[in-house]
């Protein structure tokens, strides 16, 4: 055992005060992964809970335990998922940034050949980096020149002599003179349900993006921009019918908070279904995913706590951490060595100035990172969390429903016991085709949040049709509707993902992330190329989302494709053909990795 570093957290644990997460941690250990009797379990009820823990998962229980044993033992240097029986292709030559703790930052990290890795973050070619920066400087210089010569046609504040400007100057400049030039690629109004296809409203600009006019035309596009992973965004079908019924039964909205008049049987049903879906004891739901993070993190954390957060975490998590006032340290994206180093240093040094032990330590990570398309290395994180007695907050916004053989998120994907994660957070906005967020975990945690959370106390609850959409889609995924429709969707998404990613890789473009992640960022680097690619795709009736600075680092402009179970192979083939064309003409084939020469097969349905 690493001496001081290991003893320290135990001391922390005894000092710490909060009841809720403590019990969770205690219970996780009771579940049989660590024999060590844990002194912190004090609540009587906990004795019963370990059974419940495995009960819900019994069908998979043995499998999960085994998988964990495999992953847990070699936790720090094994690439997981093998135990899940997922095939992965060596030929694809994926390169990894996984566990190479010596390098700096993910994109800059030296690509080391690790044939067994399923994650890829290829380095940017030097020429591209230089030209990208050059393009950006040109944009800025000419932008300032433009601003200097012509007054921008926007509203100005009057009678503000002597005031400092209220709005951030550079941000304003950036959105007016850089973003405005390719503004037609974003915020496209749509006029249909965003399923596999979406109808875009046509618009034109006569003044270079300052204003837009509708032409009155509409265009049907293949939709690669929605987080509609399981294809539940439908205007017809079981979900839609049930939602309509629920309006008749419970009205459109309750217009009150859950503490007052906002709780109806449908909300209780939703929370119960969510807990069952995730295989945990209890869950609490909120009407907004962003607020779930931003308002619940401050409940669990206070000044004097330490949070170790992944550098690519979502804005809502960052806002929550800032609001909580806890000390935040950042670790490099998905870099377990770095995480351990940060953890260890923090534990050894204690709080700054006083050196007192931290009140509690939280690790905050996401399941699938929506901009990188990467997957958290969950078994390693859990091993570290147990080693240092930290709590784990996992945001499964993009992974719940989309990952794992049963669609239950990254926990299912890695075969990890849900009780090993202390706070499970997720949103219904993505896979379930609805809106809102949940926090799931032990009953104590949920009860604590129910009483203390600002989101439960002040925000109005979810509208019944929205809740019903979630309930019905969850039931379909779980197979409780008596069909294997849900399982089919999960499989279809997995097949689409692997096919699309492999084909792109073969094409020679740089894509980021994990082989099984349905978010596929295609790196184009330059600003001008973001615009050019999105426009060309739109011309060919494909809707995709471009992402640039400030959502990504300046240099790493990208096009993000979100795959869906609603897409068919023919649709994907169509996209891939178009992309092949675009990659050739616009010069997107940056990848220097060896490519697979053969024909990539779309997997069989029953595989």
């Amino acid at each position: 055992m690493k001496v001081g570093a290991f003893r320290e957290p135990e001391r922390l644990m005894r000092r710490e005060v909060a009841v809720v997460p403590k019990v969770t941690a205690g219970r996780a250990e009771r579940c049989g992964y660590e024999d060590e009797a844990n002194g912190t379990v004090t609540v009587g009820e906990t004795c019963r809970r370990p059974n419940m823990a495995t009960e819900g998962l019994l069908s998979d229980g043995a499998h999960q335990l085994k998988t964990f044993a495999v992953n847990g033992k070699h936790a720090l240097n094994v690439v997981n998922g093998k135990a899940n029986g997922v095939v992965h292709s060596k030929k694809n030559g994926h390169v990894t940034a996984h566990c190479n703790g010596t390098t700096t930052g993910v994109p800059q990290s030296e690509p080391k050949k690790k044939p067994h890795s399923k994650e890829s973050f290829e380095e940017v070619p030097l020429v591209t980096a230089v030209t990208t920066y050059m393009g950006f400087y040109l944009l800025v210089v000419l932008g300032y020149l433009n601003q200097f010569l012509f007054a921008p046609p926007v509203a100005k504040e009057r009678n503000r002599k002597g005031y400092v400007p209220l709005y951030n100057r550079f941000e304003q400049f950036y959105s007016r003179y850089v973003y405005r030039r390719i503004r037609d690629c974003w915020n496209r109004p749509i006029c249909s349900v965003p399923g596999a296809e979406v109808v875009l409203k046509d618009r034109i600009t006569h003044d270079y993006g300052w204003t837009f006019q509708y032409t009155g035309l509409e265009k049907k596009c293949l939709n690669l921009g929605s987080y509609n992973y399981l294809g539940f965004a439908e205007a017809t079908g079981q979900c839609a019918e049930d939602s309509i019924q629920s309006i008749k039964k419970y009205a459109c909205a309750l217009g009150s908070t859950s503490h007052e008049l906002g709780t109806s049987p449908i909300h209780l049903e939703l929370e119960e279904t969510t807990a069952r879906f995730l295989g945990v004891e209890a869950a609490i739901t909120f009407g907004m995913g962003f607020a779930t993070n931003a308002l619940n993190l401050p409940c669990l954390l206070s000044p004097g706590c330490l949070v170790i957060s992944d550098e690519k975490n979502h804005a809502s998590l960052i806002l929550g951490l800032r609001l909580s006032g806890a000390t935040t340290r950042v670790f490099k994206h998905n870099n377990m060595k770095n995480l351990e180093k940060v953890l260890r240093t923090a534990v050894v040094q204690g709080q700054p100035k006083t050196g007192a032990p931290w009140k509690k330590i939280f690790i905050v990570a996401e399941g699938v990172y929506s901009m990188e398309g990467s997957l958290v290395h969950l078994p390693e994180v859990i091993a570290l969390k147990k080693k240092y007695k930290a709590y784990l907050f996992l945001d499964e916004a993009h992974s719940v429903g989309a990952m794992g053989p049963r669609g239950r998120g990254v926990l299912d994907y890695y075969g990890v016991n849900p009780h090993d994660v202390d706070v499970l957070m997720g949103t219904f906005t993505k896979s379930f085709g609805s809106a809102g967020g949940y926090i799931a975990g032990s009953k104590e945690l949920v009860d604590f949040l129910r009483v203390n959370s600002h989101a439960a106390c002040y925000a109005s609850t979810m509208a019944p049709p929205i809740a019903q959409q979630i309930i019905t889609s969850m039931r379909i995924i779980m197979g409780e509707d008596g069909t294997n429709e849900g399982q089919k969707r999960v499989m279809q998404l997995a097949r689409n993902t692997r096919y699309f990613r492999r084909r792109l890789h073969q094409m020679g473009v740089i894509i980021y992330g994990h082989e099984d992640s349905p978010v596929v960022p295609l790196l184009v680097y330059m600003f001008s190329k973001i615009g050019a690619v999105v426009r060309t795709l739109a011309k060919k009736n494909i809707a995709a989302v471009g992402v640039g600075f400030p959502a990504t680092p300046l240099m790493e402009g990208r096009i993000r494709f979100c795959l869906s179970a609603a897409h068919t192979k023919e649709q994907l083939d169509n996209v891939l053909d178009v992309l092949e064309d675009i990659a050739e003409t616009l010069g997107l084939k940056y990848s220097q990795l060896p490519r697979y020469k053969g024909v990539i097969q779309y997997e069989d349905e029953n595989k």
Partner: protein, 81 residues
């Protein structure tokens, strides 16, 4: 053949436009940028046409004089090597 060259040139122009973000600019900005690039390129080529031959000749001459008059140095180099 002609077709191929035409295509190649079109491709190169596109690359130039992408690298300079030309496709994002308004016409007058494009003109500014193109004029600047043209100016720089023409100045560089003009100056290399006028001054480079002379400069290279003098460079070669001086190098030659060093080599031919530097017997000792050459020997010294051999020794140390």
């Amino acid at each position: 053949m002609l077709d191929y060259i035409k295509k190649k040139i079109a491709w190169l122009v596109l690359q130039y436009e992408l690298i300079t973000c030309l496709n994002m600019f308004e016409p007058w900005e494009q003109m500014c940028l193109n004029a600047t690039v043209l100016l720089v390129v023409s100045l560089v080529s003009y100056s290399s046409y006028v001054y480079l031959p002379h400069y290279i000749m003098s460079l070669i001459n001086s190098a030659w004089s060093v080599v031919s008059s530097g017997e000792e140095r050459v020997e010294y180099r051999f020794e140390s090597g």
